[in-house]
């Protein structure tokens, strides 16, 4: 699907609830395979939707491994690089690191990977909480247009987008319906 085609259409549905579940199930398998199990893993979602995706990944991993890695939230707001540029202060969200991350493998989860700036901020936030063995990044959607050298380890779906398009992730837990929509540029 090219940018051109996307531009010609209005809003397009790129993932429905079933597609999201399948993608998360595959990512769960990949996490287990790559880490040879989930003993030392902690899953931290970037609020709001990254946190709910983290909970879903936890459930998917538990279904496979019969083991439940701890889940928490890492709020990158106070570490953003645009605080003194933006006109409005973004509201603070949930910061909840359930166990020490020292020596553990952190799976950081976000809904959409775009410029990479949120991930950079979240990495800095995490470093203030300890020294993890490693940090891996999982994202439901990778929409391209990176501005920093950031790469996801696990991707639910690569969706090529125009720079001005918006990618909306809706999750049943918050929005009543689970879907991913690419909204055409205004």
């Amino acid at each position: 699907m090219s940018d051109k085609a996307g531009y010609a259409m209005k809003n397009r549905l790129v993932m429905d609830a079933v597609a999201i579940d399948r993608a998360l199930a595959r990512v769960a398998h990949e996490i287990i395979e790559r880490n040879k199990g989930v003993e030392d893993i902690v899953i931290l979602g970037i609020p709001t939707r990254g946190y709910h995706l983290a909970l879903r990944l936890q459930a998917a991993i538990e279904a496979i491994e019969k083991m439940k890695p701890p889940v928490g939230a890492v709020d990158a707001t106070l570490y953003r690089d645009d605080l003194t540029i933006k006109k409005d202060q973004p509201p603070l969200k949930k910061m909840d690191i359930p166990i020490s991350i020292d020596g553990r493998t952190v799976i950081m989860v976000d809904d959409v990977l775009f410029t990479g700036r949120t991930v950079r901020a979240a990495l800095n936030a995490l470093m203030d909480f300890g020294r993890p063995h490693s940090i891996q990044l999982a994202t439901l959607v990778d929409r391209g247009h990176r501005e920093l050298p950031v790469k996801a380890d696990y991707v639910g779906k690569n969706i090529p987008t125009g720079l001005k398009e918006a990618v909306l992730v809706h999750l049943a837990e918050i929005d009543g319906v689970s879907e991913v929509i690419v909204e055409a540029a205004p």
């Binding site: 006109k87 409005d88 202060q89 969200k93 910061m95």
Partner: protein
């Protein structure tokens, strides 16, 4: 979300929405102080000057810690060691400080209105840390946050504020804050310490402490400024303590789930007995903890975003 103002001078001119933004932001900031590394880079490169014309331990330290936990540079000026003793006016001090390009000045002054005056002289943000008998907004915010935590909300609660209402900036800021959020405030004081027309601020007033305690969900004791005895506001400390001090005997008449607050510093055995101050109903130290979070929120909301272009 934005506090669309340069300064925080008082609670009186805040809207309910602004109050709620400040309180909810403060609640989020508490987590930072629970960390092992109690610092976030949010206000890196910002300079905050604490300009204190009155002695203060708690408030000044609290503002300083809040600034440092946000990675701002905090500079403290107390008047005893500054040019004020050489006779410099507030205006000159302000102009000179501004020439060093701070981002915020936190001021405590014995004259009501000093922060407002300062805010007109300087382009940076000004935060009122207590001005005369006028307002002490950060104290009211931390009191509201403390009550919200304990009671789940503020609306509909009965708040009794007891003590020298006439000379208390804490009382005034709390009357504005709690009434804006829908609480019922009753001020309790001896006649000499009860300002005329205090009801015009939206609170009830009484000289009868036992009656006020009976219905109170929150009892807020004010510090008795002992130096006021020289000004004949009360005959003796003992009499004041007997009539308006809070001890275990008076507390027996209060509700079972009442909570006790005090802005500090406390005069043990005067306005509050040690038994009560250190007892299970006391939230005094929670107030202090919340103070840091509230001041972090104030800095974040005043300094966190880009300066609005002058219209």
């Amino acid at each position: 979300m934005r506090l669309k103002r340069k300064d925080l001078l008082g609670i009186e001119d805040l809207t309910k929405d602004e109050l709620e933004i400040l309180i909810s932001t403060a609640a989020s900031f508490r987590e930072v102080s629970e960390r092992e590394i109690k610092k976030v880079p949010t206000l890196r490169g910002k300079t905050i000057i604490n300009l204190f014309y009155e002695p203060s331990t708690r408030t000044r330290t609290s503002f300083e810690i809040a600034a440092k936990r946000m990675s701002a540079d905090a500079v403290n000026i107390s008047t005893s060691s500054s040019s004020v003793v050489k006779g410099e006016t507030l205006k000159d001090t302000a102009k000179n400080l501004e020439a060093m390009r701070p981002d915020c000045i936190v001021i405590r002054h014995s004259s009501a209105g000093a922060p407002l005056m300062l805010s007109r002289y300087v382009g940076c943000s000004v935060v009122n840390a207590g001005d005369g008998s006028h307002e002490h907004p950060s104290q009211a915010l931390l009191d509201i946050l403390t009550v919200k935590d304990k009671k789940g909300g503020v609306e509909g609660l009965n708040v009794a504020i007891v003590g020298d209402i006439a000379h208390s900036r804490v009382a005034r800021s709390n009357i504005y804050g709690f009434t804006k959020l829908g609480a019922h405030v009753t001020v309790v004081a001896p006649p000499t310490m009860m300002p005329k027309d205090i009801e015009s601020l939206g609170c009830a007033a009484t000289y009868d402490m036992p009656a006020a305690l009976k219905d109170a969900d929150i009892i807020m004791m004010l510090r008795l400024q002992l130096e006021r005895q020289k000004e004949s506001f009360f005959p003796s400390v003992r009499e004041y303590s007997r009539l308006y001090g809070l001890d275990a005997a008076k507390l027996k008449r209060a509700k079972k789930d009442v909570v006790i607050m005090h802005p500090g510093p406390i005069n043990r055995g005067v306005e509050i007995s040690s038994e009560v101050a250190d007892g299970p109903f006391s939230l005094i130290l929670d107030q202090v903890t919340n103070g840091v979070a509230v001041r972090m929120a104030i800095f974040y909301l005043l300094l966190g975003a880009a300066k609005e272009e002058a219209a």
